[in-house]
């Protein structure tokens, strides 16, 4: 039995900011959901099921918040699933929703991911005082910075590459009205003059802490035929996980990431991602992860990813634009960040990305990861249905 093709016909997100003080948690998710429905020109009654994702419940202090959010998302009387796969959750949530359509369980599904970080403090949620454990010796960046150093050692990349990524992503964000950071006076000099927080990671190369939500309406062929705007078609999607820490783990280029990408490319019939994929929205919480993921995802050979960044290939007008939306470096409502990558990929192939639209975006990859670089979720979307 072949799978039902899955189309994205509605996309909505909130304007991401440090603190949305004018809405409740329900109000935040509702805003994104409403915009996705409006984009698809559908009503709550048209939705068969809701799949919601977010990162740890401790971040908002609400256990299984989907129970309280059922009313706001029009889920009463419908199936509602709640996904949690750490930082990759926004991507995983979209894939779980897509499976409901692909399996022909439902025709039209609303999927949504959010984080309202201003309700608490993410570092509190991540560093609960677990007895007997060695206290964390550094903040979030301290967890990633040693891996960045390992990448620099392995690839021989010049130490300016990280700042190039940050400079590019923050400029891209200026073209995205929903992005959190809008640094209008950004210059490369300013990025490079920022203090080193966790050397080799500068303050300017870290992600912000945001309140935000992102939603998509996924549907089957019949639903896509009724859509008022061009749909994005899912050409491949996969999740891969590996353990948090283990002997032989490659934290710079995790095997789970490679396997996940390979599965997506196989489904989509991609043999040369660098040539056949037009743009990428990848999960880059610290600037150096752009060259690292370019290698992990097969866009560059091992040790060569930084050359794509350095030569401008990943710029908005480059040959392989990366993080056209401004990326996680400009917007980070943790649980939603993965779905924003997936949604931005879909916006590009639909030609709906506005000022940060790239030309000839026929096939775009959305990428999310989380945990100790162990959970991966990706999808490839295109402007034409699969097998057409």
């Amino acid at each position: 039995m072949s799978k039902e093709p899955v189309a994205v016909v509605g996309i909505g997100q909130t304007k991401h900011v440090a603190a949305r003080r004018d809405v409740s948690i329900a109000g935040l998710v509702r805003e994104a959901a409403r915009r996705a429905l409006d984009d698809a020109e559908l009503t709550w009654a048209d939705i068969d099921a809701v799949v919601i994702g977010k990162a740890p419940d401790f971040f908002e202090g609400v256990m299984m918040p989907e129970l309280y959010l059922a009313d706001a998302l029009g889920a009463v009387g419908k199936p509602m699933l709640r996904v949690h796969t750490a930082g990759s959750v926004g991507g995983s949530t979209a894939l779980v929703a897509a499976n409901l359509v692909a399996a022909r369980v439902h025709g039209t599904v609303l999927t949504l991911a959010f984080e309202k970080q201003s309700e608490s403090n993410a570092m509190w949620g991540l560093s609960l005082p677990i007895p007997f454990q060695q206290p964390l010796l550094a903040g979030a960046g301290g967890f990633f910075a040693p891996h960045v150093r390992a990448y620099m050692r392995r690839s021989g990349a010049p130490d300016t590459v990280g700042s190039l990524v940050a400079y590019k992503d923050r400029r891209n964000a200026l073209k995205n009205p929903y992005a959190h950071l809008h640094e209008h006076d950004i210059t490369l000099e300013k990025v490079q003059a920022a203090p080193m927080l966790w050397d080799p990671i500068r303050y300017s190369e870290t992600c912000p802490s945001s309140d935000g939500a992102c939603a998509m309406v996924l549907t089957d062929r019949a639903g896509a035929a009724r859509a008022p705007r061009p749909p994005a078609w899912m050409l491949g999607g996969a999740m891969r996980s590996e353990p948090t820490l283990f002997a032989g783990k490659d934290a710079v280029s995790p095997q789970a990431g490679k396997d996940c990408a390979a599965d997506v490319y196989r489904q989509a019939g991609i043999s040369d991602p660098r040539r056949e994929i037009d743009a990428v929205e990848m999960y880059v919480p610290f600037s150096w992860y752009e060259p690292m993921w370019l290698e992990n995802l097969g866009f560059a050979d091992e040790g060569e990813g930084w050359k794509l960044t350095e030569s401008g290939v990943t710029e908005l007008d480059g040959d392989l634009p990366v993080d056209m939306s401004g990326g996680v470096l400009s917007t980070n409502p943790i649980g939603a960040s993965g779905m924003i990558r997936f949604a931005e990929a879909a916006l590009q192939v639909r030609g709906q990305a506005g000022e940060h639209q790239v030309e000839r975006a026929h096939r775009v990859l959305g990428h999310a990861y989380g945990g100790g670089s162990q959970f991966f979720a990706m999808w490839l979307v295109g402007d034409r249905p699969p097998d057409s």
Binding site: M1, S2, K3, S24, I25, P56, D57, F58, F59, E60, G61, V62, M63, M64, E66, L67, Y68, A70, D71, A75, V76, G77, K78, P79, M80, L81, R82, V83, H84, T85, A86, S92, L95, V96, N99, L100, A102, A103, R104, V105, G125, L126, L128, I130, A238, M239, R240, S241, E242, P243, T244, P254, Q255, A256, D259, C260, D263, G371, G372, Q374
Partner: protein, 349 residues
Amino acid sequence: MTREIAVVAFAQTDHRRTSEEFSEVEMLMPVLHDVLAQTGLKTADIGFTCSGSSDYLAGRAFSFTLALDGVGAWPPISESHVEMDGAWALYEAWTKLLTGDADTALVYSYGKSSPGSVRDVLTRQLDPYYVAPLWPDSVALAALQAQALIDAGDTDEPALAAVAARSRSDASANPHAQLRDPVSQGEYLVRPLRTGDCPPIGDGAAAVILAAGDRARDLCERPAWIRGIDHRIEAHGLGVRDLTDSPSARLAAEKAGAFERPVDTAELHAPFTSQEVVLRKALRLGDDVRVNPSGGALAAHPIMAAGLIRIGEAAARVHRGESDRALGHATSGPCLQQNLVAVLEGDPR
């Protein structure tokens, strides 16, 4: 044509008041080994893995990442996690198998209620603006529902006591149950519910293997075919719901095809005696249906696993030839807010 998918193996811990000598992964791992051994499969043979658990129960963020150590996720596996009871992890795995992307799935869930005060922990599920600041605990909410049932003439205290007695008596044949002997109804915990009307607090884990089509027949002598599975949620506010009814359970059952033909067995996830009354009515279970032969959640209630265990127990009865058509049910949220129903059948004997 829809793919045929079955539960082919089920395993669970011996549920206990506390498992403090084990970490979560140490508690979970033997169950994973058990369920794999039943089928002869290894982790690397499994097409998709999905789990259910709760950070709030564990008291730490990302608790499920440590449990993954017990799976042996290397080489990397296709895997997902729901912050829900494992029954919903099973649902996600079922959809994955339906797409044809995988032929087998490992589903597991676990929960330790012993480290925290579970009555208080569950208050954090409630509307964070109007209700959670009052800290109404899970027994109190169930008691409000029980009183509504009594007021409506749907039950009375002796009838609730009979549910409690039957459950614990049936559990005497279940080596995994935490309460395996009749217990006295005891004092009111929150009136009208007595201690006997409430589930034991304890720790446990469970795992299930799903397989599609001929793969299921290879792995299990009598697969428990999932004829239908569906879940539905209700409004969150208790004051807008009719607590004596469960329209979400009824709708899920209808969508799962439960009403097309009678079932002979039902494993209901009713942590409180009064909730069995609600579910029997909503699911139209007559007196001839064997309800909770395992003892149900009143005999063992490892939160996050108890719903998956209901499906597992229902499937195991099909495997053993003790049932031909069984219903497995799971619930989540205050006063049965969200409900899942699976209908399982064995091949004709």
